[in-house]
């Protein structure tokens, strides 16, 4: 066996590829420890949740856009949630809003995005056989699955799922009397989230360990693709913030089920005082947003990393400002932990404290702007190749700009007091966090589909999907800015009942119609995805002519990824269109000594060092082979 010397860096499974693996259906597709299959499991589950989450939003958009519409035709699905006179039940409206948020933020854009691409790409791009612990990885998926099942069941119970908003603020979420959804639905929400937190932590611990310990030879941190940097930092954010959500949820469970008063105080129901005294609902907000704000970056950073990779590849240019990209992601990571109270400007907290959080919040604009400019300068005068993945990446940059600008407004406490909890906020975070991350995820699927399934997705359907979705997203969320500035509050079942908000019905109708079209367009993608999986054109080994390591694996990499040696890495991943080079890309596995025509002066210096490494490696190989034979 010629690979024995890789044992030093590949602690797990380094001998899997030698002999035929007799996987049966269960070990291959269900209880698998192969990071690639686990990534696909996360992807398919995430897509399932995206459909559910999208459908829920359509139902409440119907109510908002067409308030007088008869929804009798939904009775076969929603049953009692349609009132006898054919309207949507107001309690269920709140449940829909809550579950849409929970599902999209956690199940689609955290598990579906990070879970899919961190699992799939980290070992492939750093040159590892698998994750540090395949078992923990499997456990991470199955805890997510259990969490999904519980959350899904909660949609169907009689009192309805949790309804207090995805932030589940007490006392609304803490008292069963508050609303029907605060009963069993809320309990199931908390149980599901506990499993979700455990799943995220297991996954995150694995990602960090893998990136730090299992990189192949030569893969220093300054040669990591930006995708890996992004996944790595995302995992660190998750590791630090999800335990805090656990604390918040734990105290909420005690308040709900054991009668403690962490968050409850001086509450009267029907004239009767509750026994709880001494609690503080703002305490929950602090704990929740300490997770909640970093969560925004857990959702966004992987998408930004994916975009960096796709834009550099398809611009046929090195990413502009590689180090600046890393530093700005580090900056975002650190800052994400010190800005949480900008979600609480109207909670009655000390205005001086508000100013500090405002200041810190606005600092985030700097690394974000650095990233945007780096994307634009990477695109600038590149030989752009408009693959569907590239289009979605450019779409992400567009949303990141248009949604990010409104973040500067909202970060100012004075303006936020006016705009807080209006549709302006909804528009802001749906563009910058929701749509941008969703586009990053879709871009990633288009780009890495050939590696996942060995076939290409249909590009023409991809273009149709892109333009419908891109225009649709702006049609949905841009008008919401105006609705929000006009003072329309979010989470309201109906506006027509109030004098100040009974206008703009046409605009709401437009938004709802656009939302339906945008949602329908996603079925083009779903068809493309599943059709191409079986019938798509068979992909070439490196269809995008990309530099990173995953494209050096076979078309259908087995468990262990590379049939022979793990390739060593000699250069950074962005050597596109290097002056003097024969081709417009030089994979990371090509030694500098093999490309004297394109080396820069300082790289020529490195060649000497490299030759020693290669010589060392050969003696090792010979030594190993003679030892084995």
């Amino acid at each position: 066996m010629a690979t024995a010397h890789t044992a030093t860096h590949s602690a797990t499974g380094h001998d899997h590829h030698d002999h035929e693996h007799h996987d049966n259906f269960i070990t291959k597709y269900i209880f698998t420890t192969d990071h690639k299959m686990i990534g696909k499991q996360f992807l398919v589950t995430g897509m399932f949740w995206a459909i559910i989450g999208g459908l829920l939003s359509l139902i409440f958009r119907l109510q908002l856009g067409f308030p007088d519409m008869k929804l009798e035709w939904l009775r076969p699905v929603l049953g009692g949630w349609i009132t006898p006179d054919g309207a949507l039940d107001p309690e269920f409206y709140l449940a829909l809003v809550t579950m849409h948020g929970t599902i999209m933020v956690f199940f689609v854009l955290t598990a579906g995005l990070s879970g899919t691409f961190s699992n799939f790409l980290i070992p492939l791009q750093i040159g590892a056989r698998d994750m540090a612990s395949g078992f923990m990885n499997m456990l991470s998926y199955w805890l997510f699955f259990v969490s999904s099942v519980i959350m899904f069941i909660s949609l169907f119970i009689e009192t309805g799922p949790a309804s207090g908003g995805w932030v589940v603020y007490p006392p609304l979420s803490a008292l069963e009397q508050a609303m029907p959804g605060s009963g069993l639905g809320m309990t199931l929400w908390l149980v599901a989230m506990t499993f979700f937190i455990a799943s995220s932590l297991l996954g995150g611990i694995n990602y960090i360990t893998t990136v730090i310990n299992l990189r192949t030879k030569g893969m220093s941190f300054s040669r990591l693709p930006l995708t890996i940097w992004a996944f790595f930092l995302t995992a660190i954010i998750g590791l630090l913030s999800f335990p805090v959500l656990f604390s918040a949820a734990l105290l909420l469970v005690f308040d709900r089920s054991f009668g403690t008063s962490f968050y409850l105080s001086d509450i009267y129901i029907g004239g009767e005082a509750l026994p709880n005294t001494g609690g503080s609902p703002v305490l929950y907000q602090h704990l929740f947003w300490f997770l909640g704000h970093p969560e925004v970056y857990i959702v966004l950073l992987p998408a930004l990393g994916i975009t960096s990779e796709i834009i550099a590849t398809n611009s046929r240019k090195p990413i502009f400002g590689y180090k600046a990209m890393i530093i700005s992601m580090l900056g975002i990571t650190i800052l994400s932990f010190v800005v949480w109270a900008h979600h609480m400007f109207v909670s009655g907290m000390n205005p001086f404290l508000g100013s500090i959080f405002m200041f810190l919040t606005l600092i985030i604009a700097i690394p974000s702007a650095v990233k945007v400019f780096n994307y634009l300068t990477t695109l600038w005068r590149g030989n752009l190749v408009f693959t569907p993945g590239m289009l979605f990446s450019i779409g992400l940059v567009s949303f990141f700009i248009s949604g990010g600008l409104t973040g500067i407004f909202l970060g100012n406490s004075a303006i936020d007091i006016q705009l807080h909890d209006t549709y302006f906020v909804v528009a802001h975070f749906h563009l910058v966090m929701g749509s941008a991350s969703f586009f990053g995820m879709v871009a990633g699927i288009y780009h890495w589909f050939p590696k996942m399934f060995g076939r290409m997705m249909d590009a023409r359907l991809g273009y149709v999907h892109f333009w419908l979705t891109f225009i649709g997203v702006y049609m949905v969320f841009f008008p919401m800015h105006y609705i929000g500035i006009a003072g329309f509050p979010r989470r309201y079942y109906s506006w027509t009942g109030f004098e100040f908000s009974n206008m703009y019905t046409d605009l709401n109708m437009f938004v709802s119609a656009a939302a339906i079209i945008t949602f329908a367009a996603q079925f083009i993608f779903l068809f493309n995805f599943f059709y191409s999986m079986f019938r798509g054109r068979v992909a070439s080994l490196n269809p995008w002519r990309s530099n990173t390591l995953e494209w050096t694996t076979p078309l259908h990499p087995g468990h262990g990824n590379w049939p022979g040696e793990i390739p060593a890495v000699y250069r950074w991943p962005y050597d596109y269109s290097k002056p003097g080079a024969k081709e417009d890309f030089i994979p990371q596995t090509v030694p500098l000594s093999a490309t004297p025509e394109s080396n820069l002066p300082h790289e020529q210096e490195l060649v000497k060092l490299e030759k020693e490494i290669i010589a060392d490696e050969e003696t090792d190989l010979v030594a190993n082979e003679s030892k084995e034979s």
């Binding site: 602690a11 612990s133 730090i212 220093s220 105290l251 403690t260 305490l283 704990l287 090792d620």
Partner: protein, 193 residues
């Protein structure tokens, strides 16, 4: 072969730790975050007033001594394992497990002591927080005791020795961490109750 790679990897792969040990450290980080957030919540809530003042159970002093002792015995066992002194290893591990269990029982009596002075889980958050701290710590400590017992069993099967220290080292790290965590919680309570 190792030495040759040391040259290559010295420059290229600065950190290479045993993945499982590294994962344990990351797990410890997440536990630290749980208790950091809870103790911060305690301070924030305390600053708002309406805070029940009461004496901490004096049994906490004894449990702190017990947990320190258990770390000492575990360290003795660890040193013995490194030197392949199996008798001392087994004795040290056994004592550590015993002390761990005694600690848990004493923590239970701290709750009894709290109830005796009319501090209940349900009531003013000052008391509730105390129960949450001790309870959550106890749950982690139970997982630590289980880990200790696993290592104890493998030490009786002579599977812990100077050439096979991974499980032992991880166990030692985790247990010292749990001891340190308790000392932190106790000092925090002494300073902030």
């Amino acid at each position: 072969m190792e030495e040759k790679f040391a040259y290559v990897e010295g420059a290229e792969q600065p950190i290479s730790m045993h993945p499982k040990k590294f994962a344990l450290w990351l797990f410890i980080v997440s536990v630290v975050m749980i208790f950091a957030s809870l103790t911060s919540a305690y301070i924030v809530r305390q600053a708002e007033g309406n805070w029940l003042e009461f004496e901490l159970p004096s049994i906490f002093w004894y449990t702190s001594i017990i947990i320190v002792l258990s770390s000492v015995t575990l360290h003795v066992a660890y040193q013995a394992a490194k030197k392949d002194d199996f008798q001392k290893l087994k004795g040290g591990m056994f004592l550590t497990v015993l002390l761990g269990l005694v600690f848990l029982v004493c923590q239970w009596y701290s709750w009894v002591a709290l109830v005796d002075r009319d501090v209940y889980f349900v009531g003013n958050p000052a008391g509730s927080f105390l129960y949450v701290f001790t309870g959550l710590h106890a749950i982690h400590l139970i997982s630590g005791v289980i880990f200790l017992i696993i290592v104890l069993i493998s030490s009786f099967r002579y599977k812990v020795h100077s050439k096979n220290m991974n499980a032992m080292e991880m166990c030692v790290t985790y247990w010292h961490f749990l001891g340190g965590l308790w000392l932190y919680l106790f000092m925090f309570l002494l300073l902030n109750h």
